[in-house]
């Protein structure tokens, strides 16, 4: 499940929980599910680190290296 799917799912679960048209058992299940989904969302959104890389074409092939210069530009 990617972030977008997790958010969509979370929104759905929240809406049915907010509608209050469920039984107590169902609500508890939804609650557990939404807690889990919100954790997935938080984890997913924090997955990337903001790496900035640049492709370098060298004699022995194409390499990816950190693009440090950009910070100073």
């Amino acid at each position: 499940m990617n972030y977008e799917q997790a958010v969509e799912e979370l929104e759905k679960v929240l809406e049915s929980l907010e509608s209050q048209n469920t039984s107590l058992d169902e609500a508890l299940k939804l609650f557990e599910k939404s807690v889990e989904l919100s954790k997935i969302c938080f984890d997913k959104i924090k997955e990337t680190q903001g790496k900035v890389e640049i492709i370098k074409k060298e004699l022995d092939g194409i390499k990816t290296q950190e693009f440090t210069d950009i910070e100073n530009k």
Partner: protein, 396 residues
């Protein structure tokens, strides 16, 4: 008329002053067809001409050809009279295609052809991912464009990964590098969206983005491509072929990444909503339970009341029945008493009869008596002692 004799320098300076101070000529634009185009040491020399007229032009800081002979151009700049050479030239600050220049004609032809092939079809455009984790950028590694994209994306989302494919964005061979960059980034599985960007420039400067090569590379890309070429007013073939045209590279950066802080806030809100929804749900259930408990209690109470009433009614009925019963019994008793009263021996005695006893024994037959024996006659109000004088048997 005054006859003046001047040095060449004096005359040339005088002429230069006339041109420099002529307000009409400041920032003037002039159009014509390019001829004698050449570049030397970063300076472009060319003439523009029309039937019966020609103008020498020069453009500084020109390292790549921005026009070729035969192009119709509009040149903006100022007239400069060169004192040392005694020559007049037009110093161009900007050279743009004029009317249907050859390049522009080619542009329109290519655009029409690709359009008829369906390369620009709206139905073929891929959506730009809402939550890109890694963006690929094809542009020059030097210059303002990559820096602008970097800063704009960092501000909105400091955690989006960026992969730059450095490519020449103008001049010969630029279209090949741009197309290679798109293909390379398309194959990189981590890249979610590709930006193809270039800053502002002349129509010629932007020409690599108006090539079939770049258009086809964009169209073939499995990953969505955002095209941001030149200024807002510039439209390139790559814009039409792309999945999204951004008016500037900064805007491309802006739309490629999601707002990290907003998203974090949204997730926090979701947690709050979750808490609120659950709390109010439980409160609702609790109050429902309370209501039904109250209903049960009220129900029980009213039932007890009904039963109490029933019981009361029964007691009254029983009491009535008892009273009736007692009254009846009383009547019966009275009747019985009356009957008894009648059969009381004393009552018989009162009617004129007396009881006969002999030596304490009741005498009920004459056979028990002999003449001369003493008997007692008991009356209701006393007794007498009598002597049997005679005995007469009753004849049947």
């Amino acid at each position: 008329m005054q006859n003046l004799t001047l040095s060449i320098t004096q005359l040339n300076n005088y002429i230069k002053n006339i041109f420099d101070n002529e307000e009409l000529l400041i920032g003037v634009s002039v159009y014509g067809e390019v001829t004698n185009f050449k570049i030397s040491n970063g300076i472009a020399y060319f003439d523009i001409k029309e039937d019966g007229a020609q103008l020498s032009c020069v453009k500084f800081s020109s390292y790549v050809p921005f026009a070729k002979n035969g192009d119709q151009v509009i040149v903006t700049g100022k007239l400069n009279y060169h004192v040392r050479l005694g020559r007049l030239s037009f110093v161009a600050s900007k050279v743009e295609p004029y009317g249907m220049g050859e390049l522009y004609k080619q542009f329109l032809e290519l655009k029409a052809r690709l359009e008829s092939e369906g390369i620009f079809d709206e139905s073929k455009k891929k959506p730009i991912p809402k939550y890109a984790k890694k963006i690929g950028v094809v542009t020059s590694e030097t210059g303002a464009v990559i820096r602008d994209i970097y800063h704009v994306t960092r501000k909105k989302n400091p955690f989006t990964d960026i992969l730059v494919y450095p490519a020449k964005v103008q001049g010969i061979g630029a279209e090949n590098e741009i197309a290679e960059g798109i293909e390379f980034l398309d194959k990189n599985s981590d890249v979610d969206v590709i930006i193809v960007a270039r800053g502002g420039g002349s129509f010629e400067d932007l020409s690599p983005f108006n090539t079939e090569k770049v258009a086809r590379a964009i169209f073939a890309s499995q990953k969505p491509v955002i095209s941001a070429v030149g200024h807002e007013t510039d439209f390139s073939i790559s814009d039409f072929a792309s999945d999204l045209r951004a008016p500037t590279p900064s805007v491309a950066g802006e739309v490629a990444v999601f707002d990290y802080f907003e998203e974090l806030q949204y997730l926090e809100n979701c947690r709050e909503r979750l808490k609120r929804a659950m709390t109010s749900f439980l409160e609702k259930k609790f109050s429902e339970a309370q209501n039904s408990a109250q209903n049960i209690a009220q129900n029980i109470e009213s039932r007890v009341k009904i039963q109490e009433k029933e019981l009361e009614n029964r007691v009254v009925l029983i009491q009535k029945a008892m009273t009736t019963f007692l009254e009846n019994e009383n009547k019966k008793l009275n009747l019985l008493v009356a009957k008894l009263e009648k059969s009381n021996p004393l009552s018989i005695l009162k009617a004129g009869y007396s009881k006969v006893e002999k030596k304490g024994k009741t005498i009920s037959s004459i056979s028990q008596l002999k003449v001369g024996e003493m008997i007692i006659n008991k009356f209701g109000d006393g007794e007498i002692l009598s002597k049997v004088e005679s005995i007469k048997e009753k004849k049947e």
